[in-house]
Structure formats: C-alpha cells, structure tokens
Amino acid sequence: MNSVQTMNTNQLAIQVSNLHKSFGEIKAVQGVSFDVEPGEIFGLLGPNGAGKTTTISMLATLLRPDEGDASIMGHSLRHDPMAVKSVLGVVPQEIALYEDLSARENLTFWGKMYGLRGSGLRQRVNEVLELIGLSDRANGRVSTFSGGMKRRVNIGVALLHKPQVIYMDEPTAGIDPQSRRNILDSVVTLKDQGMTVLYTTHYMEEAQELCNHIAIMDHGQIIACGTHEELVQLVGEQTRIDLTLNVEASRVLGTWQAVEGVSRVSTENGQVTVLVKDSNLVLPRLFEAATHLSVRITSVDIREPNLEAVFLHLTGRALRD
C-alpha cells in the first residue's frame, strides 16, 4: 500500500478541490477550489481572516483538510504529503529563521532538511546567497540583519532545493518600501525562471502587479477568480479621472459631458470627476476641449478600476476593513 496516489491534474501545477477546514465552530475554509497553471503567479487576495493562510497551510501539509484534496505537481496532498513537500518551497508569513545562526548556517541547515548534502549543498547555498544579495553578509548572524534582509533570507530558504512550486504567504507584510520592491522583483524573477508561485496578500496593488490569476477570498470562500481584467470587468467598473482647473468647474461641465467616451461628469469641492471607459482615449479629448475654452488643467489623477472596487462590489466592505 505504498503506491503513490496522484490525481488527474491535466498538467496543472496546483489543483485544489473543495478544501474545507474548521477550528471548532469556526469554519476557516469552506469549499475552496482553484487551479494554477505551471509557471504562473497565482494570487490569493483577501482581508485578514479571509482564510488565505489556512488554505496555504493545508497546501503546505501543515494542516490536514477536513474535506477535499489538492494536487501539487501531480502529488496528492492527502496520500503523498512527502512528495508534495519535496516539490514545494514555503515562504511563511512570519520570518522563520534561527536568529542566533548566520545566514549561511541557516541556509546550510535548511538545505540539509531538503536533502542536500556535501559540495552540492555548499554550492547551492552560495548561489542562493548571491540570488538574495547577501553574499557579503553570509557569515553575519541573522539577529543583526534588518527586517528586509531577514525577509530575503526567509525567501532564500524556500529556494534552496529549486522547488517547482513556491508558496509565499504575505511576504511583504510589515517591511519598508525598498525591501518590498526587492521582494516583488524577486517574485517576478522566480516566475521568469519557470517556478509556479502561489502568492497570498491583502495588498491589492501587489496582486494586481504580480499575479496572472487572482482568487479573491472572504470568510473562507473564493468569491471571485480570474485575471485582473476579468475581475474588473466582472463588476463593470470604469476609470475615474479627477481633475482640478484654474477656473470654476462649471465652465467645462457641459462641454466635457459631450466628449465621446465620457460616461459621467460631476463636480465636488472645486474638483471635476469624469468617469470613462478608456482613459487613454478620452483624456486627450478632455485636454483639447479645455484648451478651446481657454481653461487650464492644473492637475490630473487617473484611478484605474481596481480590485479594491471589485471587493467592495462583491462584499459591500473595503478590502482593508
């Protein structure tokens, strides 16, 4: 009975089927299902407590699902968890490193836990140190590192065994903008190298920027799933352009309302708000009309339809509530 059981994955990197998990009375995850193609970045977006970490914990074999199963690179979560672990790299939400060991000692130890040994291990540790930009601090204790550096080592650990799939659970939580930028860039690099990334975040900007597909979670369920464009179209949201003028706003309202592609023009506190379907087409027309009226536009703020609006539309609550 040691035969490895696999599911029919149709070349999917991750296939999640009807996962359920409860903690006592609390239903943390209720029937979550989604598919992830190889080599893509798949985002799980949702507010704190939506069930993202519980889902990823089940997919990392840390929690046993009450119901349902998942296949990671063809290996069943329920029936072959060791095989799942061997193709998986996990970047936990909190930094999980031995602070009293150096970066190199941490990577070496974790490499051994992934089965690396000898010269292969040493070489891979050096490669990962290079990859995360910490070769010059390799022998420094992690306790002396900045938050951003620790985050990089935290990610480096998950890359040691060259996993096919990597889970990143809110890897940018609580760090400075520069480190955040570095991490986002490294995620894209991983994708370019052919890794499949499952990325959880509650920052819609990150999901929007990084992910090929996004599943929006709330109260343990996936309430919407698709590409960014598909999700936005799902709620029919339009681009909003906020403009300020050097004259009274009432002078342009009628003219702009008649511009092709404009859905609606309104004004509040001296600022004009224009709703359009395509800002790239409409904005030059607005400038042209203003010039004809000898009105100067002093500022422009374009707000693309975003996932925040999608979440608001679907749940009636803001994403960060």
Binding site: V90, A96, F109, K112, M113
Partner: protein, 438 residues
C-alpha cells in the same frame, strides 16, 4: 542523518548562548568555588567541628602470638592483648573522643544491625582470626567496614584512621618476615624485640599521634604553611566537603539544562521554525527525535565537562571510573528525559519561567538535602528519604555512592532506578509531544 543535523543545530545554538553557557558551566563551578573558598578558609584557620561519628565495634579477635609494645605509644595508654584490642584502643582513645563515639557489640550481626537500624553510622567487625592471620606471613588480616551508604564525611574519617593503622601494622608484619628470613633460627627469640622496636618507631614518628592517625582532622592543626602534613590534611578535608557539593551543583544545573534545552521545541514552535521544518520533506518523528537527541547530547557535554573541570580546578575525587561513568550516564538520562517530560506539560515557552523558578528549584533543593545534611546524621537520614522523592535525589545518590567507593552493584541499582524513571518521563513526554505535532 537528519536527526543529527537537527541535534547539532540545537547544540550549536545552545553553546552559542552566553546565558546558557553561564548556567551550564559557570554557575556550578562558581558556586563550588565559593564553597571551596569558604571551607578552605575554615580549614586553614577558622573554627570548624564535625559531629561525632557513632562507631560500633564487634571485636571477635581470639588472639594470636603475643608481642609487647610500650603502653605509652598506644592511644589511650592501654595494654592490648590482641590486635583487635589494639584497634579498639586506638578508636577509643581520648585523642579520638571528639570525633568518634565508640560502642561495643557482642557479634558481627548485632553490629551490622545497629547500622541498618541507623543507631550507628559505621560498624567495624574484627574477625576471630585477625591476630592469627596478622602473624601468619601467608595470610591477610582483614577488618570488615560496614557503613551507612548515605553518609560521607564521618565514615570517611573512620576509614582513613583504620587505613593508616592497618598500613602501620602491615609494616610490622613485613618487619617480622624480613627478620625471620634473614636471621638464624637461634635468633627467633628476638622477634618480640623487633616488633617492639618497629611499633615504637612507627607509632612515635610524630609526637602528634592523633594528627598522624587522623588523616582528615586538620582544621585545628598548625597553619598549612608550617606543616606539610597539615596542609595535605586540610585539603583532603576540604575535598570531602566540596566534592559532594560540586556533584550536587552539577546535577542541579544538569536538570536546568535538560529542561531549557527541551524547551527549544516550544520555542521553535513560537519562532515558527518548527512549522517550517514540518514543511520540509522530513518526517515529523525525525524532527522530534532530533530535538530529543539534542537534549541528551547537551546534558552529556555539560556533565562530562563539569566532571573534568572540577577534577582539574578543585582536584575533586569522583571515584572509580566505572561507577562514576554509570552515575553520570544515569544523570544525563534522567535530567534529559525529565526536561522533555516537563516541557511536554507546558503550552508555551512563556510558562517555562514558572517551571524554571518553581518546579526545578524546588525539586533540585529537595534532591540536594542529602548533601547539605551530611554533617547531621538525623537530618541526613531524613534528607536522604525526602530527596528520593524527586529525580534529582536519585542522581545525587548515585554520584555520592560512586564518590564513596560503593560497589558497582550498589551504584548500578541506583542507576537502574534512574533509568526506569527516565524511561517513564521520556515515554510520557514523547507521547504528549507526538500527540501535539505528529
């Protein structure tokens, strides 16, 4: 292999912690050093007195060849008709009176029963053929020494006195043999004179007869700088006191090390490294085993280093290698498994503070009662019983047995109890941790 990787990682972390190093090695040696200095000062000039040791003697010696020695050279000034009487007279002499309280028993059984019943601390049984065997160049004269195994200083003093006495008598025996080998039969009648002269010389080499016999009794003697023998005596006395204290400290802190090292399981859970370990292709049983091995190895290193360091720094005599190794191994197992057991009862590492401050200190102090009560026979008896209620008490018992030269069988019995307790602690601890993680 991964088990050792995890164990060595934990050990590296432990030995990198200055706090852990101070607790593991610094404090036990420092505490012992303080006692060493304190008792060293007393021994070299201060007032210090030991309680009397109750000795019961069954002198069954029926006598043998007669020889005379000057009464003035026998402690107590009594004539002795047999070698057995000579031993009794030495121990009953007024020079020994402030250290030994002697009573006589009619038989060997009653003398041993007195020790078993804790009415006496040492029984000395002089066999019926003691004088005869002494006079026979081909036989060995043996005195039976029967002591309360829980006591250290008093019995050690008595043993030392007897050893010194027997060494002197062995010299007499050699003198007789040499004389008879070298002399014609016509001169055999002079044997008594040879013995007489040897006894006079050997017993009167120093005017301080009690000082000669009382190897342990230096505190009231002249300052060490003026007498070499006094200095050595002080040191012996000091080590008899400091040795058990060092052993006690080692065991006390070995239990702390066992518990604090085992606490790394809970700490790793809170630091999130344990869940991360569980995401690697390493079975959870292997991970936990690695953590347990780390506990055993860390305590082992601590115990070995302390034993060697105490020997080098304080010249502590731990006893014969085999019994000491057995006692040390028992200590390692029981301290480690107790640590695993205690931590398995905790929900978080934060609760460890209360455990360290409360449970380990209380049980450690209870376990050490037998050491700090050795100067009081009544307290020692009570302490010995109470200390065995806690695992530290068994570890201390084993170590003291080894230090006192107890037979391997006796030490082995104590170690066996320790191993049984270790197995129980370990099984419960592993079961509880496995229930939580595996």
């Amino acid at each position: 292999m991964k088990i050792l990787d995890i164990a060595f990682k934990d050990m590296l972390r432990s030995f990198r912690s200055m706090f852990a190093l101070v607790f593991m090695f610094g404090i036990p040696l420092l505490m012992t050093g303080m006692f060493y200095i304190m008792f060293g000062n007393i021994a070299s000039g201060g007032e210090f007195s030991l309680p009397k040791t109750h000795v019961i003697i069954a002198n069954l010696d029926e006598g043998g060849p007669k020889f005379q020695t000057s009464a003035k050279n026998i402690p107590g000034g009594k004539q002795a008709r047999t070698m057995g009487e000579l031993v009794v007279n030495v121990l009953q002499s007024k020079e020994m009176a402030d250290l030994i309280q002697v009573s006589l028993a009619p038989s060997a059984e009653s003398a041993r029963a007195s020790v078993d019943g804790q009415a006496s601390q040492v029984a000395i049984v002089i066999p019926a053929d003691f004088s005869k065997k002494f006079a026979d160049s081909n036989k060995q004269a043996i005195i039976e020494f029967y002591q309360d195994p829980t006591l250290t200083i008093g019995p050690s003093i008595i043993r030392s006195i007897l050893n010194r006495f027997m060494d002197g008598m062995a010299g007499v025996k050699i003198a007789i043999n040499v004389f008879m080998d070298e002399s014609p039969e016509s001169d055999y009648y002079l044997t008594g004179d040879v013995v007489q002269q040897y006894l006079d010389i050997s017993l009167v080499q120093t005017e301080d007869l009690a000082g000669t016999l009382l190897d342990e009794r230096a505190p009231t003697a002249a300052p060490p700088s003026s007498q070499t023998s006094g200095s050595q005596t002080s040191e012996n006395m000091l080590l008899r006191i400091v040795g058990p204290i060092m052993g006690g400290m080692m065991i006390f802190y070995a239990f702390f090390t066992g518990t604090s090292t085992a606490q790394s399981i809970l700490k790793e859970e809170e630091e999130r490294t344990l869940p991360r370990l569980f995401t690697t292709p390493t079975p959870q049983a292997v991970i936990l085993t690695g953590k347990f091995v780390a506990v055993f190895l860390t305590v082992l290193v601590q115990v070995v280093v302390l034993i060697i360091a105490a020997r080098l720094i304080f010249s502590i005599q731990w006893g014969a290698p085999v019994p000491v190794a057995m006692a040390a191994a028992g200590t390692v197992f029981i301290a480690s498994s107790f640590g695993i057991f205690v931590n398995s009862l905790l929900k978080s590492a934060k609760q460890g503070g209360a455990v360290f401050g409360g449970v380990l200190t209380m049980t450690g102090m209870l376990g050490m009662i037998s050491i700090f009560a050795i100067n009081s026979p009544t307290a020692a008896r009570l302490g010995n019983t109470v200390s065995l209620l806690v695992p530290q008490g068994w570890a201390i018992r084993g170590l003291l047995q080894a230090m006192n030269g107890a037979p391997v069988g006796d030490v082995g019995l104590t170690v066996l109890v320790m191993l049984v307790l270790s197995a129980a602690f370990f099984v419960i601890g592993v079961w509880r941790f496995s229930k939580r993680y595996v």
